[in-house]
Structures are given as structure tokens and as C-alpha cells.
């Protein structure tokens, strides 16, 4: 897989020193820093959450929860890519929590909310996404949309790199088969 991810974050961004809440000035600084982090990272994470859940409302809730958890845990100083991976990890864990509760069934009922454009390719996306397992959706999205390599995907999902390779292989094969079947019926 790709050696370097498609990081869209501003590389000058850093979360170091943004943690103490000693006085109002420090709070204002921290908020500003948070805003730059949010602006740099939120859009791809929202896209990931919508892509995997198929639900815009759910994705927005999970996005907010992702940043809440990030700030509450206050991780030590990280560079931009580590922060990005860490945020994806939190988002992935939140998705997993949802699936454990059995909430993934919603994909089948209201997936249209996530992909509102009515063109052939979007029909393909819906059909393929519905048929894929949640973990398969995650892996394919992280690899092909976020451009993460197997190690980065492993860090973002909590899986081992070797497992990622095998799961990716199966997910790709399954998705390709589904797309082919979908197109042959059109």
C-alpha cells in the first residue's frame, strides 16, 4: 500500500502545550488551537463516518464525540499525522461501539441520507456498502480514501498489520465482486 498518507492537515499544527486550563488566556489559546485542529481534520473524519455508517446524523454525533474524547483524554504531544491517526482510531472505536449495540442495521434503512446524489455510481456505492461488513467498509475507506498504508490502518483500527493485509484482500475482492454484479444488472 501507499507509503505516505494523504494528510490534509496543516503540518504546522501542533497540540503540544494546549492542555492546561490555568486561566482565561490559556483557555482562549487552547480554544484557538482546537479550532485549527478541528478545521484541519474534521472534514475527512466526517466523510469517513458518513461513508462507513451511511447516516449523516449519526456521523455528526460521532464526529463531535470523537473530538470530545480526544480533548478529554488529552494525549501527549503528537505530530500532525499521529494526531490524525489518533482521531481516526477514536472514531473507529466509536463506530465499533455502535455495532456492538446492533445499531449498524440503520445502514440498510436510511443509507440514502449519506449519499444523496442520484447517479449510477452512487447506486453502486449504496449497494456495495450495504453488502459489506462494517470492518470491511472501514478498511477500504482508510486505504483508498485516506491513503493509509497497512501499518497506519492497523494503528487506526487496533488490528495487527498482518491481519489488515488479509482483511483488506478479502474486502477488496468482495467489493469488486459486488460492483461487478451491480453493474452487470444495470
Amino acid at each position: 500500500m501507499c507509503a505516505a498518507g494523504y494528510a490534509t492537515m496543516d503540518e504546522s499544527f501542533s497540540i503540544a502545550g494546549a492542555l492546561p486550563l490555568a486561566d482565561k488566556e490559556a483557555t482562549a489559546m487552547e480554544e484557538q488551537e482546537f479550532r485549527s485542529l478541528y478545521d484541519a481534520t474534521a472534514r475527512p473524519i466526517l466523510a469517513y463516518l458518513v461513508g462507513v455508517t451511511g447516516r449523516r446524523d449519526v456521523a455528526e454525533d460521532l464526529l463531535q464525540e470523537t473530538y470530545c474524547r480526544f480533548l478529554i483524554r488529552q494525549p501527549p504531544s503528537m505530530d500532525a499525522n499521529e494526531t490524525r491517526r489518533y482521531l481516526f482510531r477514536i472514531a473507529t472505536n466509536l463506530l465499533r461501539d455502535r455495532w456492538r449495540k446492533g445499531d449498524d442495521e440503520l445502514w440498510q434503512e436510511t443509507a440514502e441520507e449519506g449519499f444523496s446524489v442520484d447517479v449510477d455510481t452512487q447506486m453502486d456505492v449504496r449497494a456495495a456498502m450495504r453488502a459489506l461488513k462494517p470492518r470491511e467498509r472501514e478498511l477500504l475507506w482508510l486505504a483508498y480514501v485516506e491513503g493509509m498504508n497497512h501499518t497506519e490502518i492497523a494503528a487506526a483500527t487496533g488490528l495487527r498489520a498482518i491481519s489488515v493485509r488479509m482483511l483488506m484482500f478479502r474486502a477488496r475482492k468482495k467489493a469488486a465482486g459486488l460492483l461487478q454484479a451491480e453493474r452487470s444488472t444495470i
Binding site: M1, L21, Q122, N149, L179
Partner: protein, 158 residues
């Protein structure tokens, strides 16, 4: 040979992202089973991602920030009241044990005998002090329990 990945898979994805698919890569995709699967899947997902990114407005960072601050305050409040919760539990245990001990001692000797022995003893002052302490602890425990119930209604759970 049964491969699970191809070194050029990344090039295929990069080319799709960039929007230009060189002939050389096209011919590779034609001859590589892995990349032939990668191309339509990546294309589908990239199209989906571009639609999502264009269509969906982000929530305001300030809103998320305020939510986080409120959550932090809740956590700080919980941490601050944790010792009180322990104290409450300990005081309940103390009162229960004391009541059990008292009942036990009354059971073993007649109550009137016990009272007269206490009142006639030289340690009357100490017994009186102990009784006041027990009453104070009982009142304190009752107050903590009562107050805890009221604050539990006010503070939303995490």
C-alpha cells in the same frame, strides 16, 4: 501465484486521486488481478468521499468546544465529590455495624441491667461522649445521603 497485495496498488489509487491514469499503469491494471480489483473499488469510494465532503457542512468548532468544556466540568465535579461518596458509604457501614453491636449486646444481657450499669459506671462521661458521636455520625450520614440524592437529580450522568 496467489498474492494478497500489489506494490503498484498505491500508484493506482494515487492516479485515481490525481485524475490522470497513465497508459503504462492502465496496462499494468490489465495484467494484475489485484490492481484490476483495486481500481473500481477505489474509484467508487473516492467518488463517494468527494460527494460527502462537498455536500456535508461541518458543525461549528465552537459548539464542539463548548460541549467538551461542559463534559470536562462534569468530570471534575464527579472527581471532586468522589471522597464524599466514599465517606457516605463508610458512615453508613459504621452506623449499621454500631446498631448491630448495640442490638447484640442488648440481646446478651437484659436491657435494664445494661442501662443501669452504664448509668452507674464511672465512665459515664465517656459513654455520653460516645453516644453524642454516634448521634452526630448518624445525622451526618442521613444528611449526606439526603444531599447526595438531591445532587444526583441535578447533575446529569456522563
Amino acid at each position: 501465484m496467489n498474492r494478497s497485495s500489489c506494490q503498484r496498488e498505491c500508484d493506482v489509487v494515487e492516479a485515481l486521486r490525481g485524475g490522470s491514469f497513465p497508459d503504462e499503469l492502465r496496462s499494468h491494471v490489465g495484467s494484475c488481478a489485484i490492481c484490476a480489483e483495486t481500481q473500481p473499488v477505489a474509484q467508487m469510494l473516492l467518488q463517494a468521499a468527494s460527494v460527502v465532503r462537498v455536500d456535508h457542512e461541518l458543525s461549528d468548532a465552537g459548539l464542539v468546544w463548548r460541549r467538551v468544556q461542559a463534559r470536562k466540568q462534569e468530570i471534575a465535579l464527579k472527581r471532586a465529590t468522589r471522597p464524599l461518596i466514599y465517606m457516605r458509604a463508610l458512615s453508613v457501614v459504621y452506623v449499621v455495624l454500631f446498631a448491630a453491636w448495640l442490638l447484640h449486646s442488648f440481646w446478651r444481657s437484659s436491657s435494664m441491667e445494661q442501662i443501669s450499669r452504664w448509668s452507674g459506671s464511672q465512665d459515664g462521661t465517656a459513654c455520653f461522649g460516645a453516644a453524642i458521636a454516634v448521634v452526630a455520625i448518624a445525622i451526618g450520614a442521613w444528611f449526606l445521603l439526603h444531599d447526595g440524592r438531591r445532587s444526583g437529580e441535578r447533575v446529569p450522568s456522563m
